[in-house]
Symmetry: C2
Subunit: 211 residues, 2 copies
């Protein structure tokens, strides 16, 4: 039985993965925990504790094998397990995500996009088709898709989410700036861009005011 990883650990592991990818691009074979921690402004023992969760061994005086550590992270976070997804809402954000090929490296495989605008229906964007919403339930079942990415305007978000749930979607990645309700059996991730942004701007403002 695998232990579950906390959100914080998962986030750090993806950051380590960014760094390791960079190391490979530069031909580095080993990297030490103090080096990683310095790049992320965290404590170096934190890095070692995270790595330990991966059953990965380091070498004293040298550090960790970049290739091995990268692979351990990919394995632990399931980058190789393909996760099929549909996008609901062919606006700017939906289209941007559909074109964002980097997702594939992490196992997220976006298959198609849906919208209720007949003008958008039938378009091919980044080799993926835009379907009319009415096709959604049928295609979810046929292609066995569990993940729905919600990029519709805020006011339609809840209705769309309900529709996705009814269609059999199990995970909703919601980009609308609102909190969605869903049954316990469906997991919703409210991506809160503005909240993330404020996290880095708010306390700085306060600091300036103190001066």
């Amino acid at each position: 039985m695998k232990a579950t990883l906390s959100d914080k650990v998962i986030k750090r592991l993806t950051l380590y993965h960014f760094i390791l990818t960079e190391c490979i691009n530069h031909g580095l074979e080993y990297i030490s925990s103090p080096k990683i921690s310095e790049l992320l402004n965290i404590d170096n023992s934190q890095v070692r504790k995270d790595v330990k969760l991966l059953d990965n061994q380091g070498k004293c005086k040298v550090g960790y094998s970049v290739r091995e550590l990268k692979e351990s992270i990919e394995k632990k976070l399931g980058f190789k397990q393909k996760k099929d997804a549909f996008i609901m809402g062919a606006g700017n954000l939906g289209t941007a995500l559909l074109k964002y090929d980097d997702f594939k490296d992490y196992g997220l495989n976006i298959l198609a996009m849906f919208d209720n605008d007949p003008l958008k229906t039938g378009m091919i964007i980044n080799e993926k088709e835009v379907f009319h919403v009415s096709k959604f339930p049928e295609l979810v079942k046929k292609m066995n898709v569990e993940i729905g990415i919600l990029t519709v305007p805020s006011k339609y978000a809840q209705d769309c989410a309900d529709f996705m749930v009814k269609s059999g979607i199990k995970y909703i990645w919601n980009f609308a700036p609102r909190v969605l309700k869903a049954p316990k059996s469906v997991k919703v991730w409210n991506e809160n861009l503005i909240g993330n942004f404020l996290q880095f701007i708010v306390n700085e403002d306060v600091r300036n005011e103190e001066k």
Copy 2:
């Protein structure tokens, strides 16, 4: 002197704000902490503790005034203080963010976008102009812009960040899936979409495997 708020508190406050906006749309005057906590799957005393940081008072048996609570959050997080920003990288994501008018409600005011592609230069998107990168340093100074939103492909991200720093940018909101280096005087927020996504998908996979 204001106390600084932890990232977690800021994130929750923005979620409360989403809920309060929804309440206003539905004409609700009061909302209780158990109600909010239920919508977010958190403990109800957590909500009360967060609200307390806002110097806001609730009414026993009734809850909090929706309007007052919403205003306190807006004040505390500075939604009314305009924060000017430039976008670097006129790709899909940059364009999506430029068109995303919701940011304005939170004080984030995107003024223009920059790219090194001469074909994109001069375009007007959502009433905002796309300039050539070479204009960036001049306009940063002229318009006194402190925030740069980085939406260029990963491999150019560090060079662009360096350029932004040299131009006088103080906050970088980085959407490229990599960790950026910057001097201590510049604050970088590595927006890690894939990390956020994995946070809600990884442990679920584990749970399924356990069955």
